[in-house]
Every structure is written in C-alpha cells, then in structure tokens.
C-alpha cells in the first residue's frame, strides 16, 4: 500500500542562509515506514524567483526578513496572494514612508507574490500530499496563509495544518477562527503536537483529546483544546535533519550569493526569565522553563551536523546559553581544533574568563542583550545586569575579537531624562568599543510582562498599525492574532531620543578609527588613547598605586571596592590610601579612561585592538 505523503513547507521570510529548525525537527518525527515526506524550502524558491523576475538580490530578501518585522513588510507583500488582488498598496507605501522606508521593492514583490504562490501551490498539490504542514514564526503568517488558501482551492481534500511560534496561545485560535481553509492549528511544542495530529488525521484519535489543537467540527466550526504545559526535556529535544535543505541549496541558482549556516538548539526556555522575566521580552511565550541538552549530547550533535553538511558556521538559536557549558561543552569544542564560527545568545554579565572560553571554542559572535548603558533603565527592564558590567563585556569582547550584536533600547515606563544623562555624556568615551547596531524605542510584545500586566506602565494598547494593511479581519480577531502592539510612548521623548541617536551614530562612525590600549612597558602601564574624537594622548602610569588601581578597575568597582581589591597587593607605604586611590580614580575619570556607573567605575582601555571589518 502506498504510504501517505506529508508535505512540510517553509515559507518566506525564513532566512535564505539557514534551514528551518521546525522543518528539520518535524521531519525526524515522521516514521518513514508509515509516511513519505516531502520538504518544500519555499523560501529558497522565492529567493531565486525574485532574483530572476524582479532583480531583487538575496541580500535584499534577507533585509525584508531580518529588518521589517516591526513594520510587517514581509507579511504585506503576500497579502496580494492571500486576498487574490492587490491589497492596500498606496496605503501601505504611505505607511512605510512615515518610517523613511522605501516602498520599493515591496511594491514590486507584492505584484509578483500571487503568481508565485499559485505556481508553488500547483507544484505541491501535483504530488498529491495527504497533509500540507506549514510552519510560521515572525513574518511567515501571510505567506503561509496565502499558500494554504490556494492549496485548498486547487485540491480541497488536502489537509492543511499550521503550527509554530505565531500559533501560540490565542494567536493560534484566532488564526483557526479567521481562516476557514486551515483544518488544524497545532499549538505547543511540536514533539508532542505533531505525532498526536498524525494520529488524528490517519488514525482514529479524537481531535478533542489532543492538547492545544485547534480543529473543526463537521459543520466547520472552530474548536480549540486547552494547551498543555508539558514541555520536552532538554535531552529529548530531537536533532534536526537538514539534508534536504542543503541539497536544495546546492542546486539553487542563488547558491553563490548565500553564506549558509547550520541552525541548532542546545536549549529551550530562559533560565534568567525563570528568575526574573525581562519586562519587554515576549520571546518564550508559555515555555519559559529552561531545558538544555547535555554537553556531551550537544557536542556530538554539533560535530555530526558539521560533518554531514560540511558547514562550519553554526547559529545556535537558544535564548540564553547554559552556564554549565562554560566548563563542559566549550572546552570540548576548543579541544576539537575545528575552525567553527558559532553564534550564541548569552547573558551579558560574563567575565573575562568566560569570553576567553567562548572565543577559544569558536563562539565568535554573541548576542548578549546589552540593551542599555544605564543601570536604572536596566533595572526597569529586570535585566539582572549593570551598565558597568555591560561595558566590561564590550571591552572583553574587543580583546578577544568576539563580535557583539546589540541594540540600545529606550522608552521604558518610569525612565527619566536623568537616567540617560550619564550615559549620553559618556558615549564619546566608548567609541573604541563595538557600537550598537541601532537605537530603538521598545515595542510592546505579546507574552511580555509589559503586555501581561498593563500596571507596569503600558495602560493602553492596540495592534501595531502595520497590521491594518495586512489583516482584513474584525478588530477583536486582529487583537488576538498579532504579536506586537502600539501604545502611547513611555519614558524618553523623541526629542531626547534624537540626541541619543546622534551619539550612537557618532560612535558607529568613529569606531573603526578608534583605539584605547593599555600595555605594560615593564615598569609602567602605558595607556595610548587614539580615540578618533580627541587629540592622541599617551599616559604613563609608573606609580605602583596607579597601576594597582588600573588593574583593579578591570572589573567594576566602587572606590571602597578598589581599596579592598588592592589591599592584598603590595603597593608600598601610603598613609591615606583611600584619598590616594580616590584621587587616581578621579584622575582617570577626568581623562575619560574609565566608565562611571553611579559610584562604580570600570576601566575602558583594552589590551589589544582587534581586526575590524564592516559588513
């Protein structure tokens, strides 16, 4: 007997450079003795199609995917395919102009989307799949819905299922209620939801018994089962399989323009979020509980994936690195002597030894969630880190040549101009350290504490304006469906934020030509100040007490902290150590050689200047 065919589909705007983790995992959960599986990495097809038909390069595709989430461009482009006609073109382009964004190539792609979806649907249904399963996160909703609609038109008996991050909680219910061509919406972790769904479709399992599943009664009415809080333990999280993606990539006409990376996960959830949920973060939904793979298991997985796909660039999608990996996984990776380039998200309060360990293991790119250089604002965020620790991280990463991706966020309820004054006055002193990629007002995200508890400061909210041009649905449906919300601005005014933005623009401009290096010449510490916004200066610190203070300030310390730190160092006779050390710190501060975070100081000079590349 012929095995039923399951089509797993990944739509735009999944990055072209990376396989879909969801598809990679779902494929491994299907028993090949029972089912045939066909994977459709339709994002690659769309990337090749728009390059050929519209002259839109893969870099521009990735720009839409990576940078348009908060204005919804990737979603709007596919509304023409969802609604079967051009959709609010002038209105959306005018909306983009408000944000100084070009409406090209969005307008062009909008005109091509319906034709491409029609062809893709035709290609899929011609294989006669029993199920078409779509995965949706971030900007994949409308592309997936558009495909689902056309598949149902072309072959109505195909079972259409959608799942993924965009289906979590009420969002999944709203999708199912609003789009009748969706037979099922799978909610919760796929390792549980997916096999159960196959039992419903191909077995005799009653859909009402599957936790989280949205399903239809015979009259077409939508039902949503309550969600399970059952989570997959770390070591039971499957290893994804990406052979199909890499085969498709090899044969893609845009292969030469892509820089593929293997996507892996070593953990789910957030251990910091379990302690204190950052007030603005909505990333973990209902699955905050931190679960990591054992270091041995993940080490094997990473090596095996590298070997299978002959790809040394690894993107680990964890929200936060398991701290036990610093003594286990990372030394094991370093011992392998392979030249990986690994990306990880980490907590920002890492020390010098942590950064050295990351670099030695090939973790050359981190996203530490720095978010601010004001401790008061970081407290409002509940980040569990201070501004001085953030500066320490930036300094250490400079020394170990580890790239840091970060953004400077503002607009937190309760923040004041005073919170920013110290930061803004010190930005010119930091130009030799890696600058933020941008400055942005925070956005209210579903599942964040700010969303769940309006009492934290965002009392009023409505779905973000971009959704007006995307969903043709009643207001309450949109309210349930979407992830980001508009609300009256809190905290810093835009006029003040403009000053902040200017400071960051200057930082980005000056970074490449700036350095501030401290070196020892045997008898003294010499600080060579070559920051591009001041006259070059060399400072020679020959006094042992000066040197002890500078060494102590390699970590954040108050003046009493410095005294405690140097008490163990033999720094010679000093009858009034406190006054002397205090004078030295003031001398360093007057020369912008330290960052001051209230009564805490941290040295700004690095031991080396890394090679720097702009991309």
């Amino acid at each position: 007997m012929e095995r039923p065919l399951i089509a797993l589909v990944c739509m735009p705007w999944q990055s072209l450079d990376t396989p879909s983790l969801a598809i990679g995992i779902l494929a491994t959960l299907i028993d090949p003795r029972q089912f045939s599986v066909q994977q459709w990495h339709a994002n690659l097809d769309w990337g090749a199609y728009i390059a050929r038909e519209c002259g839109v390069a893969p870099d521009n595709y990735n720009e839409v995917g990576n940078e348009s989430f908060f204005v919804g461009t990737g979603e709007w482009i596919f509304t023409s395919a969802l609604y079967g006609r051009p959709w609010m073109v002038d209105e959306y382009c005018a909306f983009l102009m408000k944000y100084d964004r070009s409406s090209e190539p969005a307008r062009l792609l909008h005109m091509h989307a319906a034709g491409w979806i029609g062809q893709l649907a035709h290609n899929i249904v011609s294989t006669k799949p029993s199920i078409v399963a779509l995965t949706t996160t971030f900007l994949q909703n409308v592309p997936s819905l558009a495909l689902a609609r056309v598949i149902k038109v072309q072959r109505p008996n195909t079972v259409v299922v959608i799942g993924g991050g965009n289906c979590e909680g009420v969002q999944g219910q709203a999708l199912h209620r609003s789009f009748p061509f969706l037979d099922y919406v799978a909610r919760g972790e796929g390792e549980f939801a997916w096999p159960a769904l196959l039992e419903v479709v191909f077995g005799d399992r009653d859909p009402s018994t599957v936790p989280g599943l949205c399903w239809r009664a015979t009259d077409g009415s939508s039902h949503a089962n309550s969600e399970s809080h059952h989570l997959v333990p770390g070591n039971r999280i499957p290893s994804p399989s990406y052979s199909v993606y890499f085969d498709q990539l090899e044969n893609s006409p845009i292969r030469g323009e892509l820089d593929p990376k293997v996507v892996l996960e070593s953990a789910r959830g957030c251990w910091w979020g379990e302690v204190q949920h950052c007030t603005f973060c909505g990333l973990n939904g209902s699955a905050m509980t931190f679960r990591s793979k054992s270091p041995e298991r993940f080490h094997d997985e990473l090596k095996s994936a590298t070997e299978s796909y002959q790809c040394l660039d690894i993107m680990v999608v964890d929200n936060i690195m398991d701290m036990k990996y610093f003594n286990t996984l990372l030394p094991a990776l370093a011992a392998d002597q392979c030249d990986w380039r690994i990306h990880y998200e980490v907590k920002a309060n890492l020390k010098a030894q942590h950064i050295r360990t990351l670099a030695a293991a090939g973790v050359v790119h981190i996203q530490p969630g720095i978010e601010s250089l004001s401790t008061s604002v970081l407290k409002l965020m509940r980040k569990g880190v201070t501004a001085a620790q953030n500066v320490q991280l930036l300094r250490q990463c400079e020394e170990e040549s580890v790239t840091v991706s970060w953004n400077l966020l503002y607009g937190f309820p309760g923040e004041t101009v005073q919170d920013y004054e110290a930061m803004m006055s010190q930005l010119p002193n930091l130009v030799h350290l890696q600058p933020p990629e941008g400055v942005a007002r925070i956005v209210l995200e579903r599942f964040s504490p700010y969303f769940d508890d309006p009492g934290l400061g965002f009392y009023e909210r409505c779905p973000a304006e971009c959704y007006r041009f995307i969903y043709d649905l009643p207001a309450d449906a949109v309210e349930d469906l979407v992830y980001i919300f508009d609300c009256p601005p809190a905290g810093l005014t835009e006029a003040r934020a403009g000053e902040l933005r200017h400071g960051i623009t200057e930082w980005r401009r000056l970074y490449f030509d700036s350095s501030l290096v401290a070196r020892s010449d045997g008898s003294a510490i010499v600080i060579e100040d070559r920051r591009a916004n001041r006259e070059p200066m060399d400072y020679r610190l020959a006094d042992p007490l000066q040197q002890a203070v500078v060494r102590a300030l390699s970590e954040p310390h108050s003046i009493p902290g410095v005294l405690r730190r140097i008490a163990s160092d033999a720094v010679g006779d000093c009858t009034n150590l406190h006054a002397a050390a205090s004078d030295i710190v003031k001398w360093l501060e007057a020369r912008d050689l330290v960052f001051r975070d209230r009564d805490t100081y941290i040295s700004l000079a690095t031991s080396i200047v890394p090679e720097k590349v702009a991309v």
Partner: protein
Amino acid sequence: MISRVNPRVPAAASRALDDARWIAPNQLVVGGPRVLTASAPYRSLAWLALLRDLAGLGIRVQWSAVVRTDWPCLLVMTLPPPIRGDPPGLIERWQTTYEPLSLLWRQGPGFALIDDCRRGKTRRWTLTSPRLLRAWRLLQDPRRLTTGLSRLAFELLEEDLVVAVGGWALAAPVRVQRWPVTVAGTLRTPTSAGLLQ
C-alpha cells in the same frame, strides 16, 4: 621568548622571530628585511608560512622585504604585505591590493574548506578525499615538491592554492583562528527583542 608573550604563537616559530619585538600582544615588529627569492626557496617559504600563521592568529606583523625578480610574487599577495622594501613599486602594489582573509581555509571534522575571494570572485573547495587532505596537511609547512607530492597535490597546484618556487611548495591560504570583529554582524538572528526599526 616570543611564545611567552603571546601563548598562541607556537614555540618553534619563535626561533624565526629572534630579531622581532612585540609592541602589543597582537603586534610584532620584525628586525631586518626578509628576502624572498627562488634561490633560497625553503627560507623564503618558511618565513611566509610563519607570516601566514601569525595572520591567522590575528597578529599584525610589521616587516620589510626584499623581493628578487625570480620570486612569483602574485601568489603571496594574499599574505600581509611588508611595510617597506624592494622593489618599492612591487611593495606598493602588494600593499594596495592586499585584502585580509581573501584566501583562507578552515579545518572541519574530517574535511577542510578553502575560500578563495581573489580576482573578484568567490570560489570554495571542500577537501574530503584522504589524498588531498594528506597533501594539504603536508603543505602547511614548506615541502620539497617531489613527483609524489605533485601528484598528491595536483588540483591544489592547478588552482593556485599552493605557492611553488624553486622546487619547494607551501599552502597559501591563511587558517583563520581569530576572526575579525564585524560591525553590522554577519550572523544576525531575526529574533532580537523589542526593536522598532
């Protein structure tokens, strides 16, 4: 000892750097000029091997060169250029055309990747065959280019991945063990929280 100043520099390399001094943990100033000539192929290639490996470790070397006319210069212009030397025109061309990491390789488990961005186009080779991997390992140091090695490394020589001079040969690509800081982030995730672009 050089290796004490920067622990990543192999001790053996320090002998070739007897006249060098560190001005920072990742900056080295070399004393006298290095002569690149086909009449002393081993010594010339040994210097280039060291220069190549230091570049891979992210160590900047200030050095001077005397390049004889018998030297096949184009093949080494992917390595850090001298800050001065003879002939000045050639040195200047080396300095202006040099692009860091335009020819690099990376070790993977059971394979090696070579990325070649010379001449304005990107090419990639993945070495998986035991024969080529053996040749690649051997050519990390200057080797006499015997008939056996030529056969072993035929494709590598064909693709100009190996500097061959005076009957000796050396793999040209830099093995990158310390990547530059990239400012916009080449491995960005689309999941950064709370950002209004």
